[in-house]
Symmetry: C2
Subunit: 186 residues, 2 copies
DNA sequence: ACCTGAACACCGTTCAAGT
DNA sequence: ACCTGAACACCGTTCAAGT
């Protein structure tokens, strides 16, 4: 059948679903197995452990993000703004997965997750480098890219934690990103 | 004895220790009880559940942060910079507690944690409002404060997740904060 | 008021056994 | 190669009972 997929792909799909529904804590291997129609220890046939499964889910989300960056339209500073706004949208669509991606993975690195993070970083840097080159953004490209990324990330994370909207007059994440890029524009 | 403290305070202390050692996952009520010299269900005499205990730990950390903001020396933009840098230091000293404070608390709010977050936000806003008033920072105070907070928070969070230093030439969190405040200065 | 011991339901992980 | 069922150690939470 065309819709058929391997067990491994179904396990990843189901785990992502569970993360979206109730955060990483809601992902139990027993429930993953049940929803995928296999036993609760079948995941060990495809992943080293629970952390590995969650890291693969996170890596997939980061690859989606990188694809959005690459697909951002416009030129120069305008394109950087659109890429940054797509970051906010991505986080708003899957808040729990956003928290998972940037959560506590501990000291030991995970290859696939690290590679996906690197690719997303590169995609954002490419947007910014082009904008600095065509003269619509001013400053060292490395620093500008990191500032946009950090401010966008921080806005979203504070908003999701409920710590940004503590004051009634607090600006939104989108307003912050627009203001920063405005100030970085030549 | 002068060093004596109530069971409740010891439980909070021990839980904070465990968070620092191995993240929220390392905090088991059994280990908290053992280290505090009580049984594993004594915490339920003092806290609604595990989440409540962790939220109280997080609230204490946020009160420390607010105190550092208030204690920041200097004037105007200089004082904002020092407050922001103390945020970076605070996160670097207790990375796991930082992740806990801004972690996933779910939809239902926690009174003490919410109040502590509000107090920290107010302390940062007071620094920025003074700097805008004395003319060393330019812009709407609400927005400037939120930008500094968001960029500082995002830098630290990305650094702790290992996603900031993916490129060899990546700037540090401190460099990003300095550059932002430099650009916001008149 | 504060604490304990036993108990329940649940979870990650392992392993011998099945096809 | 892939999956299952039983088992182990562990955890959050509850509760009757103790002082």
């Amino acid at each position: 059948m065309p819709g058929e997929r391997g067990t491994r792909e179904r396990l990843i799909e189901v785990a992502a679903e569970l993360v979206d529904e109730g955060g990483p804590a809601a992902v139990t291997l027993r429930e993953v197995g049940a929803r995928a129609g296999v036993s609760h220890n079948t995941p060990y046939r495809h992943f080293a452990d629970k952390r590995d499964l969650l890291a693969v889910v996170a890596a997939g989300s980061l690859r989606d993000l990188a694809a959005r960056f690459r697909a951002a339209g416009g030129d120069g500073a305008e394109r950087v703004l659109r890429a940054a706004l797509s970051y906010l949208e991505w986080a708003a669509e899957h808040p729990a997965r956003f928290k998972l991606v940037f959560g506590a993975w501990g000291p030991e690195p995970h290859d696939e997750l690290g590679a996906a993070a690197g690719a997303a970083t590169e995609a954002m840097h490419a947007c910014v480098a082009a904008a600095v080159e065509d003269g619509s953004l001013a400053g060292d490209p490395e620093r500008v890219a990191a500032m946009v990324w950090a401010l966008g990330h921080g806005s979203v994370d504070l908003a999701l934690s409920g710590h940004l909207a503590k004051r009634p007059t607090s600006p939104t994440a989108e307003e912050l990103v627009r203001e920063l890029i405005g100030r970085l524009s030549v």
